[in-house]
């Protein structure tokens, strides 16, 4: 029995029919982890005894919650009470939060089994999971390549069938891009759709927690489970949660899909370009109307992001000072010494780079020219989408300019690394939802991702388009050979 290779919705069916038990699923997952985790390094914290114990406790009771007995892996920047939550950073070494993130409370309330924490770029700073203090995670399709980032651990685990359901977080593409390069489904909800309470903040106005799963239906199930207004998060929206699962099966005849010309640039990877083109043709065959459009301020998105996000990050990371929790450096001689040594030792290079950049952009004399200006351009980027959505139901783009690159290939040039997010970043700036689904493979058998962007709170639409496309292809059924 290889239950770990099945989708979540299939397993739920089997559990409902009592053909299997939660322990069966848990055991299969543990088996797979024991086989592949050494090569993958997708998990930051995993204790099989603890997971089994959790599973047994839930399996004891009768089925109640919608996710009863279903295993979920959680990105290491989401607080799980009394469990190691370290954002893959030395500075949070040994940190066990005294409380659960709201999404964890919700999952526990639905009787899901919390299995463990997945690896990530330190504090979500990265597109390759190479900045983790636990070492890089590898792409199951090619162990010499990156799984994307920052939710690389979650994407790799799902892709390798070490996980069924997983949560990631997305600030500039950190769910969608790894999903894209690992051949799985990743959805970033509308800003405010899912509570951020308990998500260790990177950029407060951009972060969202979202599902990384094997197929679109699973993403819909998980999205429904974690969405909703939270009194603990003032930025969460008071908008009712749709039944995302029932909506996906409607057809897409007559839907208008925009193809922004700025996302098909000179010199972009030919294989990616062709994959996307084929996908568009497929969508048209299914009755959608695809038309060119323009998002004129796209070229500024990366600059805006690296000013806004780093500014907020520099402030959000100020609390890591050695005073109350996490690392406190040894041999400290004074208060200043404690701050300096702790942060010097605890933060990796990319974290330091972004803190410095963010601090600079906010500093006296530079605030107007950098941060304030970036906020203004952000509004223009948001307006581009609002304008486009007057005419279109959704926007179709590639998820990344290339398939997975080699480990170590871009680490020496941060700017090149930053450009991996070029297609995903705008959605965070505008607050709109986006999903990445597999749409092909390179000749090296590396996954290519298709991104569908929708209007604010219109996750139903992008799930529906994604589902229809997915079901008309076989990409989601292919598995890496590990």
């Amino acid at each position: 029995m290889e239950l770990n290779t099945l989708t979540g919705h299939r397993l739920i069916e089997l559990l409902d029919k009592k053909d299997i038990s939660p322990i069966d699923i848990c055991n299969n997952i543990i088996n797979k982890i024991e086989k592949t985790e050494n090569s993958l390094n997708a998990l930051a914290h995993f204790d099989k005894e603890v997971s089994l114990e959790r599973c047994r406790n839930i399996a004891k009771g009768a089925k109640k919650g919608a996710l009863w007995g279903m295993p979920v892996f959680i990105k290491d920047n989401i607080c799980v009470k009394d469990e190691l939550t370290t954002c893959s950073s030395k500075i949070l070494k040994g940190f066990k939060p005294p409380y659960n993130a709201t999404v964890i409370e919700k999952l526990a309330g639905l009787d899901a089994v919390l299995m463990g924490k997945t690896n990530m770029d330190e504090f979500a700073f990265g597109s390759s999971t190479e900045t983790s203090c636990y070492g890089p995670t590898r792409n199951p399709w090619d162990l010499n390549r990156i799984p994307g980032g920052s939710s690389g651990g979650s994407a790799a685990a799902v892709s390798a069938d070490e996980a069924i359901f997983s949560l990631g977080s997305d600030t500039g593409g950190s769910i969608r891009q790894p999903a894209g390069v690992c051949g799985v489904v990743g959805l970033k909800p509308t800003y405010g759709r899912v509570s951020r309470y308990g998500l260790i903040a990177f950029a407060s106005s951009l972060d969202q927690i979202g599902p990384i799963t094997k197929d679109v239906e699973d993403a819909a199930i998980l999205l429904k489970a974690i969405s909703g207004r939270d009194e603990m998060d003032s930025t969460s929206a008071n908008i009712p949660v749709s039944d995302y699962v029932s909506g996906i099966k409607k057809d897409i005849k007559g839907l208008r899909l925009g193809i922004p010309k700025e996302y098909f640039v000179e010199g972009m990877d030919e294989e990616v370009k062709n994959s996307i083109k084929s996908a568009i043709e497929k969508l048209e065959k299914m009755g959608a109307i695809c038309e060119d459009t323009s998002l004129p301020h796209t070229e500024y998105a990366v600059s805006v992001y690296y000013l806004v996000a780093t500014a907020e990050a520099s402030s959000n990371l100020a609390r890591f000072d050695g005073v109350q929790y996490g690392l406190r450096a040894e041999n400290i001689k004074s208060m200043m010494d404690m701050y300096k040594k702790t942060r010097k030792e605890g933060f990796g290079d990319e974290a330091k780079r972004r803190i410095i950049l963010g601090t600079f952009g906010l500093s006296s004399g530079y605030y107007d020219a950098y941060y304030l200006k970036a906020l203004k351009v952000r509004t223009l980027i948001k307006r581009d989408f609002e304008e486009a959505f007057k005419k279109f139901d959704a926007i179709i783009t590639p998820t990344s300019p290339t398939a997975a690159f080699k480990i170590g290939e871009k680490t020496s040039d941060p700017l090149t690394m930053y450009l991996s997010d070029i297609f995903t970043i705008s959605a965070n700036l505008a607050g709109i939802p986006g999903i990445s689904i597999p749409c092909g493979f390179t000749k090296n058998n590396l996954p290519i991702g298709l991104q569908i962007l929708g209007k604010h709170f219109d996750e139903e639409m992008i799930l529906r388009i994604a589902y229809n496309y997915e079901q008309s292809t076989d990409w989601h059924k292919r598995k890496p050979k590990l």
Binding site: C87, L92, Y197, S315, D321, Q324, Y339
Partner: protein, 476 residues
């Protein structure tokens, strides 16, 4: 060289909400350390702030009372700096869109009234409290997240005395609104001052110094007196004032420069992304305005109009809400408010001072006071007896009418009864008789005093005066 003193005051006020400004922890004072904390006010990773509506309400009340314009849109900003008592590494405050701006506070000195402009009133969170030991420090985060209201004046204050008046006027309003304990010693009201000098008549502001660590209103006044002198001395000697922060040392009575290098702070203010800006709901604001109590100024004016009190008396009666309410209760039971005010400002006030109590603890009901006053009016007792009777009433809690009867305190107006005492007084004090005959009219007062002694203050003073003069005129 004649200098003009220019002072601006910055007051931080802890609001007396039940819970903290961005989380549900209790805001009670005096609990064991770190027992009123949660992930939010401890700045734990992943925690988020949620605004306490009541804090906003109380802040708006103060802003309205200070004649400020309330902002239509409420927005918070992060003030970033590193210090162990600031767990997030930033304070949630308000920078360029504060709760309210452009108000004023009237200060009265004798007959002159002056309006001090209020630059802004805004809402922010308090920090934890540090306790320094020899080679380590402890932090209590109970105070972290307590709602603070920052009230900043324009530099319209021109003397340490005016600064004192400003603080007392402010405290009076704040107590009326019941928004804070307003206790400088406990830390619920903190004050920093900025002071500079300029040549009399000059328009440009001089170099200012910031003074901190003053723990009482008097301390503020003393600190500013010292600093004003210090600056004047420097200027007289042709030296320049260094712009710096100085700490007041109450024991030595001096200000000294702060040693730590906290000057160069770039707070890198930016809008708080965890708290979405929102419109101050019109209905909410209207409800707050409707709920405002009558404030000291309007109450004073009403006392002048309705009770014909003098400006001075009305000001005193109106300055404390408990006293004002008490006064009005008495005035409702007795037809001469001026007399009520006199007694409250005189004997009652003296009693409260001597016994270190507030009017809310005073064991004298308005109907007891008015009852006593009526007995004076109707001649049942003398004014002198009333003074002692007042204390009796307070100490026993018994009705004045009963006490007068039991202790036989009735006024003596009977001529026959007075005759004896008067004759005695005259015969015992021949010199006074001589003095009177010699033209010293106040000999009568002396003799009156003797008669009062003999009658234990019960003699009707007018009658005694009349009878004494008659007797003395006729005496040989």
């Amino acid at each position: 060289m004649s200098y003009e003193t220019v002072i601006g005051l910055e007051v931080h006020l802890q609001l007396n909400t039940k819970s903290k400004v961005f989380c549900g922890c209790s805001a009670d004072f005096g609990s064991a350390p770190n027992t009123q904390v949660c992930p939010v006010c401890l700045g734990f990773p992943g925690s988020l702030p949620v605004l306490n509506r009541r804090a906003l309400e109380l802040g708006a009340k103060v802003a309205i009372a200070l004649n400020c314009r309330i902002a239509k849109k409420i927005r918070f900003d992060r003030k970033n700096y590193f210090y162990p008592d600031l767990p997030k590494g930033y304070q949630i405050s308000q920078f360029d869109q504060p709760l309210s701006q452009h108000g004023s506070l009237a200060i009265v000195s004798g007959e002159t009234e002056k309006k001090v402009r209020i630059r802004r009133v805004h809402l922010e969170e308090d920090t934890g409290k540090l306790f320094h030991q020899n080679d380590y420090s402890l932090i209590d985060f109970n105070r972290s997240g307590i709602p603070l209201l920052e009230i900043v004046s324009e530099p319209d204050i021109n003397s340490p005395e005016e600064a004192y008046l400003y603080l007392t006027a402010l405290k009076s309003i704040l107590e009326y609104l019941d928004v804070s304990d307003c206790n400088m010693e406990e830390g619920s009201l903190r004050c920093d001052a900025n002071i500079s000098l300029r040549k009399k008549g000059g328009k440009k502001l001089g170099v200012k110094t910031e003074i901190k660590n003053m723990n009482s209103f008097k301390g503020v006044k003393s600190a500013l007196e010292y600093e004003g002198r210090r600056q004047a001395d420097l200027l007289e000697n042709g030296e320049r004032i260094i712009q710096e922060t100085r700490l007041y040392d109450a024991e030595k009575g001096v200000t000294e420069p702060m040693r730590s290098k906290e000057e160069a702070h770039d707070y890198r203010y930016f809008p708080e992304p965890d708290l979405a800006p929102f419109d101050f709901e019109e209905n909410f604001l209207k409800a707050i305005e409707k709920d405002m109590p009558e404030l000291p100024e309007p109450k004073k004016n009403r006392f002048i109009k309705d009770y014909q009190l003098s400006n001075y008396d009305a000001a005193i009666m109106a300055s404390d809400k408990s006293v004002a309410d008490y006064f009005e209760k008495c005035a409702a039971l007795y037809d001469n408010p001026k007399i009520v005010a006199n007694w409250l400002m005189g004997d009652v006030s003296a009693y409260m001072k001597d016994n270190n109590i507030l009017i809310k603890d005073l064991n004298l009901k308005p109907d007891q006071l008015s009852g006593m006053l009526k007995m004076i009016d109707s001649g049942v007792i003398t004014g002198k007896v009333a003074k002692a009777l007042l204390i009796e009433i307070i100490q026993t809690g018994r009705a004045p009418e009963k006490l007068v009867k039991e202790k036989g305190l009735e006024q003596i107006s009977d001529v026959n009864l007075l005759e004896t005492a008067i004759s005695q007084a005259i015969s015992e004090n021949p010199k006074s008789v001589e003095d009177f005959k010699g033209g010293k009219d106040n000999a009568v007062m002396f003799l009156m005093g003797k008669v009062m002694q003999k009658t234990k203050g019960r003699a009707n003073p007018n009658k005694v005066n009349e009878m004494l003069r008659e007797k003395l005129k006729g005496a040989k």
